[in-house]
Each structure stands twice: as C-alpha cells, then as structure tokens.
C-alpha cells in the first residue's frame, strides 16, 4: 500500500470504482481505493442493479438518463472483456389505481420533457408486454423501453479493471480506522494496514458513510437500513422488462442468465447495519409475487439475502464536498438507487474535485441543501 496519495477513496463499490476511474481518466494520478472487504461486498453486490429513468424528480431523471447513455456503451468505453449483461428491455411500472395512474401521468410528462422516451400504457398494452401479469391487479402502467438492468459484479469489475489500467491502486480487506485533520484540512487516513498521507478523501462507503463522515468530524444526515431480496433457479426467458409496483411493494426482473430476482421494502425496518434474511420477508414476497405475477409462483427460490439502503432526507443522493472540511468529498445517501446513477456520480464528483465545471449543476446534490429551509423536491417513486 502507498504511504502517500493525492486521492484516497473509501469504498470499493460501484460508486468508489466509478469515481476512481473518472478521476484517473481526467489525468489525476496517485489514486488509492480502500475497502474493508472484497469488491462489491457492500450494497453493490447485493442490489437488483435495475436501471430506470422513470423518476418523479428532475434531478433523478437527468442523472439516470445520462447514466443509461453510459451503460449502453460501457463495455467499449471501459474496454471490458467480460459481459456486463445490460438487458435493456424496459421497466414496466404498474399503476394499481386511479391515484397512482394520475401521479404516473405527471411523471411521464416530466420525463418526456427531459427527453426520456417513457409512455403511459393501458392495461391491455401492459399485458401484451408481460402476459403473465394478473389482469385484476393492473389499472394501467408506464413503460420506458431504454430502462433495464445489469450484472452488478461484472459492471463494477469493468470499472475496476479500467481504473487499474490507468494506475489506480486498490487495497481490499483494508479497513479505514481514522481520518486525521489539522486546521480544517485533511492530513492522513489511517487503516489497519498502515497510514496514508493525503489531503483529499472521498467518502464512498455506502451504508457506512455516516460513520466515515464522523471519523472526519463531518455530520451527514443519512442512515442505513436492511433491504431484502431473493433469487430463483434459472429458467427459459419468459419476461422482458423489470416489473415494478409501488403499491404492491415489489420489483421483479429476469436476468439474461435466466434467474428471477425480486425484492420489496419494509417501512417498519429499523435503522441499523444488520444485513439479514428473514422468513417474514419471504412470506410477504411470495404472497406479493403470486398475486401480481402468478406464474412466477411456480419457480423455486434458491437464495435470499439482505443489503443496506443508505437513506437521505429527500431520497436523492449527496454528491459533493463540504465547506466544513477542505478536501473531504462524499457520494452517499443513494436511498436505494445508487447503482444506476454511478456513471454520473463518478463523472460529476471527479469534475468537482479537479476544479472543473461539472457537466450538470450540482446544487441539488449538495450537503448544504439540507440546511434550514424546506426541501425543493422529494422523490416518492421508491420501493
């Protein structure tokens, strides 16, 4: 491990790897990434890796749209030999009632204004795209054919290899224990494998970002909580798009490999760092999928697990620096959708760190937006 670095990135998930790659791409040198476990051991390797542009706030729409443009060409841009398994067959968002349908119409209008090709579908049109939907549970739907999902391991691996080729040093199984500061500036990061002198630290520690902030004396308004998910045995292709419903509380996709992956949220889940699997989740998940997509009930579950959502007050990420500590940057609070935003997370934060004009205005991503006044926009389209 280097004893001196220009940039130390804490976290080897999709955010940390994307930030490292983007910094190196723009010519930055002496970049070190540190992770306490293996690559993708955090939320990244536990997530559904769905990518959708059908959001309810302008910021999330724009971040997701630009990220999709990157994913479409990621294999070539990152010169990755493996398969990132980007299946771009859309997200079908089910409206269960008139109220939801009204809100979705507004969302689609916003999305279309921003150049996202989503549209409102009738129940019949939705059933044409996913014939095994239970018609009784569908009022109408919205669909965007350029949404989709990826393989979270190989997508992160692609960033990792590209960053490594550009000279980034990765240290896995290395835990950050402290961040040293002097007169409002960062001086070093200490780990269980030694100390690295540096003036710039990027907090990309996902579910542990609040704790990393605390090491530097920066208070972050985020918290973590468990979110559960399961996978079935692989079967022949039977579903193109990701099917998602906020009122049923489910998202369900079939990976190119054939397995179905599905998850749901639990609003009563307490704040914590436990990543566990429960039978309660399994019961509710099974009932929900049998109700909305009865045919999938015939498939066998082979594995279930949990991971951390890192929640911010407005369900939009915090990407930026802080006036309280020079050289301290963060990308956290992704609130369950940080995988799909990673290309933009890396691009915007690296531009900011290198003193360039960011490709998109970043005020609404700043830590400062939470000071005092009411929040402009809160994202409600979350599972």
């Amino acid at each position: 491990m280097k004893s001196k670095a220009d940039y130390v990135i804490i976290g080897g998930g999709i955010s940390g790897c994307s930030i490292a790659y983007n910094l190196a791409m723009q010519g930055a040198k002496n970049i070190v990434v540190i992770d306490k476990s293996y690559m993708t051991s955090g939320a990244t390797g536990r997530c559904g890796a769905g990518v959708r542009q059908q959001w309810g706030t302008k910021m999330n729409c724009l971040l997701a749209k630009k990220s999709v443009e990157f994913f479409e060409n990621a294999k070539e841009i990152l010169q990755y030999e493996g398969d990132i398994e980007f299946k771009q067959e859309g997200y079908l968002i089910i409206a269960s009632n008139e109220n939801e349908a009204e809100q979705f119409k507004k969302n689609v209008a916003l999305q279309n204004d921003l150049g996202i090709p989503s549209k409102v579908l009738t129940k019949e049109e939705a059933l044409e795209i996913v014939p095994h939907l239970n018609p009784e549970q569908v009022h109408s739907a919205t669909f965007c054919h350029t949404d989709g999902h990826l393989n979270p391991f190989t997508m992160t691996d692609a960033y990792y290899h590209a960053a490594k080729r550009l000279g980034v040093e990765f240290n896995f199984y290395t835990e950050v224990l402290d961040i040293e500061t002097k007169a409002g500036k960062i001086t070093a990061v200490s780990t269980d494998k030694g100390k690295i002198k540096t003036n710039v630290v990027v907090n990309a520690a996902g579910g542990w970002s609040k704790e990393i902030g605390a090491l530097a004396g920066v208070e972050l308004p985020v918290y973590s909580r468990n979110h559960e998910i399961l996978v079935t045995e692989p079967v022949e292709k039977m579903q193109g798009p990701m099917v998602i419903s906020f009122s049923h509380n489910i998202y369900c996709q079939q990976t190119p490999h054939g397995a179905f992956i599905m998850g749901r949220g639990d609003k009563d889940e307490p704040k914590s760092h436990t990543m566990r699997s429960t039978w309660q989740f399994l019961d509710k998940m099974s009932s929900t999928v049998c109700k909305l997509l009865p045919k999938i009930g015939e498939l066998r579950v082979i594995r279930q697990w949990g991971g951390l959502y890192n929640m911010s007050p407005d369900h939009q990420p915090i990407i930026g620096g802080t006036k309280d500590l020079e050289g301290f940057y963060m990308a956290c609070g992704f609130s369950g959708h940080g995988f799909m935003l990673a290309p933009m997370t890396g691009l915007l934060l690296s531009e900011l760190i290198l003193g360039k004009t960011p490709s998109m205005p970043m005020e609404n991503l700043s830590l400062e937006r939470f000071e005092g006044q009411d929040l402009d926009e809160i994202e409600t389209s979350v599972v």
Binding site: Y38, M39, T40, S41, G45, G82, F153, T154, D157, T232, E233, P234, H257, S277, L282, D283, M285, S286, S287, V289, C290, I296, G297, E298, L299, R300, V301, I302, R303, Q304, W305
Partner: protein, 92 residues
C-alpha cells in the same frame, strides 16, 4: 487431465480452467470467484462444488486448506417454490 475438461461447478458450468484464469488475474477468495463466475451460485448452492473450489484455492495459492475461508452460506439449502411458501404462510 486437461483443466478445460474438469467441471467444477455443474450448476453454473464452470471448469477448472475458468478458475485457474481467475486466480491468475488475482481473484483469490471464494466470495470473489462466486461473483465473477457464478461458481457455487446455482440450485445446489455450492453443496457439490464448494469443497473443490476451496481445495483449488488452497492448492494454487499454496495455503493450508483450513486457512481458506469457505463461502458465506445463505438460505436456502434446497430450492422451494414461491407458491408453496405462500400457501404455507396463508395457513398460519
């Protein structure tokens, strides 16, 4: 025997040659191998290949077997139909 012809993981169709390539690239733990190649992630949940993967890691990296961590085991041990789980839940 040619490593190409030695099948390690039957569920995900991973050969010894695949593992050796990943070792060469620097992936050295079961957790990493699982995620890059799906080895041990199929319906048998590594009940068939788990020991072999552990053994191959030990051999390649020249470590005693007991120092190579086994993969993190998660529920289930056997596949169960979603419908059966739902029916069981309804009864309770």
């Amino acid at each position: 025997m040619d490593p190409k012809n030695v099948i390690i993981c039957r569920c995900s169709d991973v050969t010894l040659e695949d593992l050796l390539e990943l070792f060469k690239e620097g992936y050295s733990t079961f957790e990493e191998l699982k995620r890059i190649k799906r080895v041990g992630m199929g319906p048998c949940q590594a009940n068939t290949c788990g020991k072999m993967v552990q053994w191959e890691i030990a051999k390649y990296f020249n470590k005693p077997l007991e120092e190579v961590p086994f993969h993190n085991m998660r529920p289930f041990t056997m596949g169960v139909k979603l419908k059966s789980i739902k029916e069981q839940a309804d009864e309770e």
